[in-house]
């Protein structure tokens, strides 16, 4: 199983990269838990999660080759 992860804005700052691959994660909730363990600063961040470009609202199953993107809000103008 191979999942593509994309991070934007401050999320990429926290994770230190904007694109990487991970394996073995069954759904978005367990992905977030895994990421928060690795990057504790993520806990207080607010961001949207998209699975294959679609913004999700609740826990979503992740399949092989899916792309998960983490998009935080910006306010700059």
């Amino acid at each position: 199983m191979e999942i593509n992860l994309l991070a934007f804005g401050q999320i990429a700052e926290i994770t230190g990269k904007s694109a990487w691959k991970i394996s073995e994660v069954k759904d978005t909730n367990s992905l977030i838990k895994k990421l928060e363990e690795k990057f504790p600063s993520l806990v207080k961040m607010k961001y949207s999660i998209a699975v294959n470009k679609k913004v999700i609202q609740e826990n979503t199953t992740i399949n092989d080759k899916d792309t998960i993107a983490l998009l935080p809000p910006f306010s700059g103008g």
Binding site: L6, Q10, K46, V55, Q57, L71, P73, S75, G76, G77
Partner: protein, 369 residues
Amino acid sequence: MNLDNNRYQRQIQLKEIGQLGQDKIAQAKLLVIGAGGLGCPALQYLAAAGVGTIGVVDFDVVELSNLQRQILYNLDDIGKPKATTAAGKIKALNPDIKIETYNFQITNKNALEILENYDVIIDGSDNFATRYLINDACIILNRPLIYGAVLRFEGQIGVFNYRDFETNIKTNYRDLFPKPPNLDSAISCNDVGVLGVIPGIIGTMQATEALKIITGIGKSLANKILSYNALENTFYDFEIAANENTNSDFPKNKTEFLTFNYEWFCNANFDVETISIEEFDTVRKQETITIIDVREKGELPFVDEFPFIHIPLSELEKTLSTITAKNKIVVYCKSGQRSAKAVQLLKEKLSNCQVFSLKGGIEAWKNIN
């Protein structure tokens, strides 16, 4: 040769626009909120394209640090109000269009009566409270909202509250970000910077979306957020779906909108002690306190009315250990957002001090003093 037609010849030549499209552009009424990094290029292109009525909202004045990205302004404009200055520049570019200026901050008290005069709204604001406020006002008034936001080398653009004819759905900012970020994780360009061309690109894309909506051509970014990363040279789009979970706590009609506290909504999870202007003036005259200005270098207005230490927020964390303070500290910035963050940093380090953030910032103080 007809001089009027010649001005717009290159876009009338486009078969998708033509004279009919140009007439629609001339009849359009468009509001740009924020004449900053996003607003400047958007205003320039929309005035150049011949948008018949353009409204400009901004309460700020031009500062030297704006010139790196707010391309309507030059050195002579420093200290002048942005809305009227921007209006003057685009009037010179195209005297045939009508321009309305609003030299004050948009609030829930004035937003509806301003926005209802316009067909399309462009959000070029720079803080979450205003962004949620504009979003909600556009829903109540049923106006399409063209959103743009920038940070560092990245930008986001999207079209809200505009029906996508293929899917027949309409989404908004709250469907994407139901809750504003906590203040301590919400950073702005004032704190971390932005490459000047980024708002140039995103503001120009906002103007493009506005012209597409006005003329009814192409596919709009309705129900989508397009994210641009200049360092990676990537665009990535997100499809937004209506979010039923978020429809509970936002104002749904004019009455609720008028009483909704947007500042509180955006700061709700952030608990720092503030000091009012009056209390601050009393305390600093009666007691020996430490006053810290956390604005970046060169920000206006100048302060010479009282002694203070200047430590920009961007440098505060690394200088924390060197700060020796009296037992009472008042921190200020321009509007009170960055000082709130600074208070949190200071409190962690100087646990025996009372630390306050000046409510409304130095701008509010200058208004009274």
